[in-house]
């Protein structure tokens, strides 16, 4: 045998090895370990439920309903200051004082959290219709829930940022950088469409099984819709939607105002939409909503942000029991009677949002169990009142306004305490309704949006001493600078933030 033939054999051998391609392809096929992929997801009914639950889970997210959420609502408004130690999370003071620029982290974190939520909703809305076999009623309901949630997320975004990219399906790679800002009016159209479609398929609150308590109901969709119309100044539709909620027979004011915000008031008769939170030993079901606003230091070990202002204190009518139920002062006994709030020498004007207070619970403080009440029946009644007044039906408006006042008064027989409002002058009544909204809904993150909606943010802020507030600028928050940068200029900035 010669070298040549040996070489030939060697080469042949290698060629043989190299040419066995079938084996290597199979060998190199590695599946994700312990994870479903989009290839085998959305195949069965369970997947539809899971994908919908994942949209709800964002409601407890830090970037959706915690630090920056409270910062860009209550702390920005005249209801609350930053709170906590002077220097703790000093960036929130930029929201309080309107010294933020486009690079500020709060709008960026809100933007991030809300768009992630919207992405989850979009994925569910796109894919649930294609699941081969599932209960049709359930299919429609889940799609409705996701549309409701998408509308909710967009509603907050459009109120904070104005024109925003309107994305209603998962984007393809070539669309990542091409989005532009959709005019707010169009975003509102989509919100209205989603809420209307949701309301058409969602069950009434009472029609849900006990195990589904907390899911979006028809009443929730119509209630938010009423608020959307009110925000747009479409009082006719606001009136209709609010009255539909009122006349649905699903809701009633909870007799004890203070207790709404405690354990017993969770998902009470007054609850139109609220986010369920639970402190489990193993975690995973809580939020940080209560922790960030909790009493700083012992005995409650919260962070002490969202500190009520003097302006808020004086916004309550004399003797209004809601003031005590809203503001937790130093020296006051905690709602569960467990301790007295001690003075923290390192905090100025120390006081707390009592509505966000929760008693001691299992797990750590970030495991907060307090439900986040997003839409209460009292809010719907006041929306109805405001719309009716604008529509020239002041007598009807007074009915709903006085329902709220009567409940606040509770069992008191004092005729001077929160007497029924009788004024029917449109402008005066409007002012009374606005005042009522502030007192009733204080520190529930509605005030800021109300002020902007009512077109008086600049006046109120300046009167409150927030002299940095610039009319025409600060009604909106800046589009996050990183988003503008990444879009290569396709995303424009809000006025005066450039």
């Amino acid at each position: 045998m010669t070298y040549k033939s040996i070489t030939r054999y060697a080469i042949l051998t290698l060629v043989l090895a190299v040419s066995s391609t079938a084996c290597k392809q199979e060998w190199l096929e590695v599946k994700p370990q312990g994870e479903l992929t989009t290839g085998n997801f959305f195949q069965e009914e369970d997947h539809a439920v899971w994908a919908t639950n994942a949209v709800y889970s964002m409601l407890r997210d830090w970037n959706v309903h915690a630090f920056n959420y409270v910062g860009m609502t209550d702390i920005a408004s005249d209801d609350a200051d930053k709170g906590s130690l002077i220097n703790d999370a000093i960036f929130l003071a930029d929201l309080d004082n309107f010294t933020l620029d486009a690079g500020h982290q709060s709008p960026a974190s809100i933007w991030n959290g809300y768009y992630q939520s919207i992405y989850r909703a979009n994925v569910a809305i796109e894919n649930i219709p294609n699941i081969p076999e599932m209960n049709e009623t359930l299919r429609q309901r889940l799609i409705g829930e996701c549309k409701f949630l998408r509308a909710y997320y967009y509603f907050n975004l459009v109120r904070w940022f104005g024109d925003i990219p309107l994305i209603t399906r998962a984007l393809q790679p070539d669309e990542y950088y091409t989005q532009t800002r959709t005019p707010a009016a169009q975003v509102y159209q989509q919100i209205i469409l989603d809420l209307t479609e949701a309301a058409a398929v969602l069950p009434l609150k009472s029609q849900y099984a006990p195990g589904d308590l907390g899911r979006a109901s028809q009443g929730a969709a119509k209630g938010i819709l009423a608020k959307v119309y009110l925000t747009l100044g479409d009082f006719a539709n606001a009136e209709t939607a609010a009255l539909e909620v009122i006349n649905s027979g699903q809701y009633a004011l909870y007799p004890n105002f203070a207790k709404i915000f405690q354990r017993e008031g969770e998902h009470s008769s007054e609850s139109v939409f609220e986010v369920s939170c639970v402190a489990l030993e193993t975690g995973g079901g809580g939020s940080q909503y209560n922790q960030i606003q909790g009493v700083r230091g012992t005995p409650n070990l919260g962070w002490g942000f969202n500190q009520p202002t003097t302006s808020l204190r004086s916004a309550f009518e004399t003797g209004d029991p809601r003031r005590n139920a809203t503001i937790l002062e130093v020296g006051e006994t905690l709602p569960d009677g467990s301790a007295i709030v001690l003075d923290n020498p390192d905090m100025l004007n120390e006081s707390y949002n009592q509505k966000a207070w929760v008693p001691e619970h299992v797990g750590f403080q970030e495991n907060s169990p307090g439900n986040i009440r997003l839409l209460r029946y009292a809010d719907v009644l006041l929306i109805a009142a405001e719309a009716l007044n604008e529509n020239g039906k002041s007598q009807d408006a007074l009915v709903y306004l006085n329902m709220v006042r009567a409940r606040a008064k509770g069992n008191s027989t004092n005729p001077n305490l929160l007497p029924p409002v009788t004024v029917t002058d449109k402008d005066q009544l409007r002012q009374r309704i606005w005042n009522e909204r502030r007192a009733e809904l204080a520190l529930e993150q509605h005030r800021w949006f109300d002020l902007v909606r009512q077109g008086r943010a600049a006046a109120v802020m300046q009167a409150h001493g927030k002299t940095n507030f610039m009319a025409g600028k600060h009604e909106l928050f800046p589009i996050p600078q990183s988003e503008v940068d990444l879009s290569g200029g396709l995303l424009t900035q809000n006025p005066f933030y450039e």
Binding site: M1, Y3, I6, Y9, A10, T13, L14, L16, A17, S20, C23, K24, W27, L28, V30, Q33, G34, E35, L36, T37, T38, F41, W50, A51, T52, N53, A54, Y56, S57, I86, D88, I90, F91, D94, D101, A102, G103, Q105, Y115, Q116, Y119, R120, I164, I167, P173, P210, D212, L213, G214, S276, V278, E281, G283, G284, G285, G297, L348, E483, L486, L491
Partner: protein, 998 residues
């Protein structure tokens, strides 16, 4: 499947063997040995002026068929002088080959084989064992610092057991910039498990030609480690090496004392319109130095015993090693116990098998999480403990924990690991010119982690309401099966080596863990989940898997020993890519010309070596997560529903994937010259390279409105590194003094060539306050710092009126440059303000030996880079402690034009700007060593071969203006580089050691 392929290969080879028949004419037999009478294997034996030849066997014997017994045989062997022997009628002949010129015939390890240094066409640098052992560390990568031109080793952590970040020829990619490590043929991501004293040599394959045989994995360079092998010897050689030493923090950070802290806090309060917290700062004095609370002088020790020897059947090298190191931060330590067995068994004259096995177990404790940051930030006016033993409350004015209390309550963070790394191989010599080698490489490991925190309460910011235990277990398994066939032949003026092979690799990783709270006791015997309340249990378990399949081929050809050619090809498949784009082809060619061998160089004696090298090649990189191409569904996105508040399962895709991902490619061109003059007293190697990386895999930031959790990987960018490398050494004697002096230096320039389709800049380097400090843009170096240029400080209202501003600045605030000249300061005025990539990396060393004494010094350094002092910027947690640079603050007109008034965050003083940029250049005296080797006359009496004692100092001196613990700050990610968010400081180490051979 894979087994089938390789079995076929083996079967075919055996067939070839069986078919072999000898065409006998005259058979010459004999044995080749070296000067020490050890047999030489694989010596090329050639009938002069013919193509007939043979190769010596494992025991040095050979058989050769020649036409008549009067021919001349030529014996040649790597590293030895070629010898011609005329047979003169003999049929049995023994030949002794002498080692050739030490330098030129040095053997270097290249992928899947060895080569004479003189035959190397690529850029390969070698580091010897002695050089690695000079540094007192557990980490071989740290010991490599300053040893190889073009290799930047940054030891950015002094934590016991930690390694270093290694970069070969700049930063060639965005994320995983680390080279691969090939230890005795085993491809690994790390080599810090090795004992420095087990290492024979380290070779760094820098250019594409040298690294191309590692194809997909070699794009960031290849570091090859060869551990010590057994040598045939009459007696077994034992050696015992040991050192003990003390470590101390090399450099503390200059922080203000209690009095100055109070003063600065008062000014900060005044500047924000809040009440002064301290009535009388002067009364406070020095206060607590929190760094002193957490640092300590710490012990380091190492003991190594090895045995080396062998006969014509078995060669062995066995070693056992104990390494124990306390950390300079209290409570941290790292202990390692390892064993190695590198054995070779010659089963027959054609077959040998062997193994290189390393088993080790380690245990360590990490310092309390974040304690370096709390020591940096804690309020110095507070005592660690008061006279009653209670911990001081450091969280009054910030959220900072008391470091002393952390040491008390958060100190239990144990890790335990064991690893088995190595290979088993068999080699068969076939038909004299062929070697078939099958190697099974593996790296198996498992590690456990356990941390316990008792219930405690220091204050309302530092407490733990319930004791908690967390445990975790990781298992990793990596095996590679490599089958290669090598053909070696020399005839006339030609020498050829051809290598072909098939390899497969699978890696998988799995982890488990859980936690429980409310343990039945706080003592260590209760640190098991069963001791906790089952109501509180959590658990996790996940895994990952990757696989590779590759074909490799290499040709080495030498003509007249002076014209050298290397060509290699590797085809790699990786499971990380979709089936369409799974395979990549990587090739290289290189040529070298040994000018010194030419006839026109014969009549000069100035040059003793002169070689020109030229190479080009393509390498790959696949450092992405194993599911980057597959969109997965995230589980446990749960929601709470129902009257009983149940947590209901949720899942949905949250992360975008990119199924179009493919290999990243890097193309390197290298031209080099090797010069030796004055009989190689002076040697010089110079390389010029251009390395371009294409289709770089990186998670490209996409707008948040897309809604993805994290950015998907994209083959997005192109990068270029151009540079020079220089290695120079002078080695001579002056009378009885032998001395050497040498240096390495390299220059590298990095430039981003393109970024994705739209060339969107990549923003990264997140810093406190939500800002980003780096920006990668076309035309500038990757990961450059980007922010405002500081022009000065607004001294007064007039300055505010006259200079451009944003609008809300006050006197005493930083005044930024209006770079676009539009009259106002806005984000559009941000510019590039620095870069963390050094222009020059260098090292130099000198040594001398005289009458048994030896002295050596090693320096290394970098020049031309900046660091971003992000820790100074981080004042998120309240009024934390201040660096002394704050004392230069503005507190009235013309008091400072660089350091602004004291504020605690916000624009402009805490925007990303030049204020936080510092010079990163440094020069470090890496080691000084003074040793004494006892004369043989003395050691011989006590039956010892060698006895050396030494003192050494590691990191005794550093010249740097940087204000942190160490100017060595880096990260594996090129877009998050040089940002100091707080590091574990490096130590100076002083050791006493002994090396004994018997």
């Amino acid at each position: 499947m894979i087994k089938g392929i390789t079995l076929r290969t083996v079967a075919a080879l055996w067939l070839i063997l069986a078919a072999w028949t000898l065409q006998a004419q005259v058979t010459i037999k004999g044995k080749v040995t070296d000067d020490a009478h050890e047999p030489l294997i694989g010596v090329n034996i050639l009938v002069k002026n013919s193509t007939a030849g043979s190769v010596s066997e494992l025991d040095g014997t050979f058989e050769l068929t020649v036409p008549n017994p009067y021919v001349t045989l030529v014996f040649s062997y790597i590293g030895y002088s070629t010898q011609e022997v005329a047979l003169k009628g003999q049929t049995t002949i023994d030949v002794t080959l002498s080692e050739g010129s030490q330098l030129l015939n040095e053997v270097v390890v290249v992928g899947y084989g060895t080569q004479r240094k003189s035959d190397v066409t690529g850029s390969v640098a070698s580091v010897k064992s002695e050089d690695i052992q000079k540094i007192a560390t557990s980490s071989v990568t740290q010991a490599l610092q300053g040893k190889v031109a073009g290799v930047q080793v940054t030891a950015s952590s002094g934590r016991p057991g930690d390694g270093a970040v290694v970069r070969v020829r700049g930063v060639g990619t965005f994320n995983g910039t680390a080279p691969i490590y090939v230890v005795d043929g085993v491809i690994l991501d790390n080599m810090d498990f090795l004992n420095p004293s087990d290492i024979e040599s380290i070779e760094v394959l820098k250019d594409a030609s040298a690294a191309a045989i590692y194809g997909t994995r070699g794009a960031n360079g290849v570091i090859m480690v060869t551990t010590k092998k057994g040598r045939q010897s009459d007696k077994t050689h034992f050696s015992f090496n040991s050192y003990v030493g003390q470590q101390r923090v090399a450099q503390k950070i200059d922080l203000v004392n209690a009095r100055d802290y109070a003063q600065l806090s008062n000014e900060a309060a005044m500047n924000t319109g809040t009440p002064k917290p301290f009535a009388d700062p002067d009364a406070l004095g020095e206060g607590t130095d929190w760094q002193d609370v957490i640092f300590r002088d710490a012990m380091i020790q190492n003991y190594n015993l090895s045995a080396n020897g062998g006969n014509d059947k078995i060669l062995f090298n066995l070693s056992a090693d104990v390494f124990r190191q306390e950390g300079i931060v209290r409570s941290s330590y790292f202990n390692r116990y390892s064993f190695r067995a590198n054995n070779e068994y010659r089963l027959t004259k054609d077959v040998k098998v062997g193994h290189n096995l390393m088993y080790q177990f380690t245990d360590n404790n990490n310092e309390p999480g974040g304690i370096l940051f709390t020591a940096y930030t804690a309020d110095p006016t507070v005592v660690a403990r008061d006279s009653a033993g209670n911990f001081g409350n450091t969280s009054n004015r910030s959220n900072v924990s008391n470091p002393a209390a952390q040491l008390e309550y958060n100190e239990y963070n144990r890790g335990y690991a064991q690893q088995l790394i190595g290979n088993v191989f068999g080699e068969v010599y076939i038909l004299r010119n062929f070697t078939f080698r099958s190697t099974f490489n593996f790296s198996m490991g498992n590690s456990r982690g356990k941390s316990f925190t008792p219930e405690f309460f220091v204050n309302d910011k530092q407490f733990n309401p319930e004791s908690i235990l967390s445990v975790s277990l990781n298992r990793s398994r990596d095996w590679q099966w490599e089958n290669t066939l090598t053909y070696t032949k020399a005839w006339d003026l030609h020498r050829v080596t051809v290598l072909g092979g098939v390899t497969s690799q699978a890696r998988d990783f799995e982890n488990w863990g859980g936690s429980r709270r409310r343990l039945v006791g706080d003592a260590e015997e209760f640190y098991y989940l069963n001791a906790g309340d089952i109501e509180t249990q959590t658990n996790f378990n996940g895994a990952s898997q990757e696989k590779y399949y590759s074909y490799l081929f290499r040709l080495n050809y030498a003509f007249k020993d002076r014209y050298l050619l290397t060509a290699s090809f590797r085809r790699d498949g990786s499971s990380k890519f979709g089936s369409e784009r799974r395979f990549g082809n990587f090739m290289s060619v290189a040529a070298a010309w040994r000018v010194i061998e030419e006839s026109f160089m014969r009549n000069q004696d100035f040059f003793s070596n002169l070689k020109l090298r030229l190479s080009w090649g393509v390498l790959g990189n696949d450092k992405i997560p194993y599911t980057a191409a597959i969109p997965t569904v995230t589980s446990n996105l749960n929601a709470v529903f129902g009257t009983t508040e149940d947590l209901l399962f949720g899942a949905t895709p949250t992360r975008l994937a990119n199924s179009f991902l493919q290999w990243e490619e890097s193309k390197t061109t290298d031209i080099g010259i090797d010069i030796g003059v004055l009989n190689n007293r002076l040697t010089l190697e110079v390389d010029r390279y251009i390395r371009k990386t294409f289709e770089i895999l990186l998670p490209v930031p996409i707008p948040d409105y897309v809604g993805s959790e994290g950015d998907p990987y994209v083959n997005a960018a192109n990068l270029e590194n151009r540079g020079w490398e220089l290695t120079i050494n002078w080695r001579d004697r002056l009378g009885k003094v032998a001395y050497h002096i040498g240096g390495i230096g390299s220059y590298n320039k990095n430039e981003v060539l393109s970024l994705g389709t739209g060339n969107e800049a990549i923003i990264a380097g997140g810093v406190s306050g939500g800002g980003f400090s780096t920006r990668s843009e076309v035309g500038i170096p990757i990961g450059s710092f980007y922010g405002y240029e500081v022009e000065g400080i607004y001294q007064n209202q007039a300055d505010l009126d006259n200079f451009p501003k944003r609008g809300d600045e006050k006197p005493g605030d930083l005044r930024f440059a209006d770079t676009n000249g539009d009259g106002v300061i806005s984000t559009d005025d941000r510019v590039f303000i620095g870069n963390a990539l050094p222009d020059y990396i260098y090292g130099f060393n000198a040594g001398l030996e005289f009458a048994g004494l030896d002295l050596s010094v090693d320096f290394n350094g970098v020049y031309g880079n900046e660091l971003y002092n992000a820790k100074k910027m981080d004042r998120f947690f309240g009024v934390t402690n201040f660096e002394t640079s704050f004392l230069d603050r503005w507190n009235g007109e013309n008091t400072s034009n660089t350091e602004p008034r004291v504020t605690n965050g916000g624009y402009p003083n805490y925007a990303v700007s030049e204020r936080f940029i510092e010079d990163g250049s440094f020069l470090r005296l890496r080691s000084v060593m003074l040793g004494y080797t006892l004369p043989e006359s003395l050691t011989g009496k006590i039956k010892m071969e060698r006895l050396r004692i030494y003192f050494s100092a590691t990191n005794p001196l550093t010249w740097s203006t940087y204000s942190g613990y160490s100017p060595e700050v880096t990260s594996e990610s090129a877009i998050d580089n040089g940002i100091d968010r707080g590091i574990y400081p490096v130590a100076k180490v002083f050791t006493f050691g002994i090396q004994a051979g018997f």
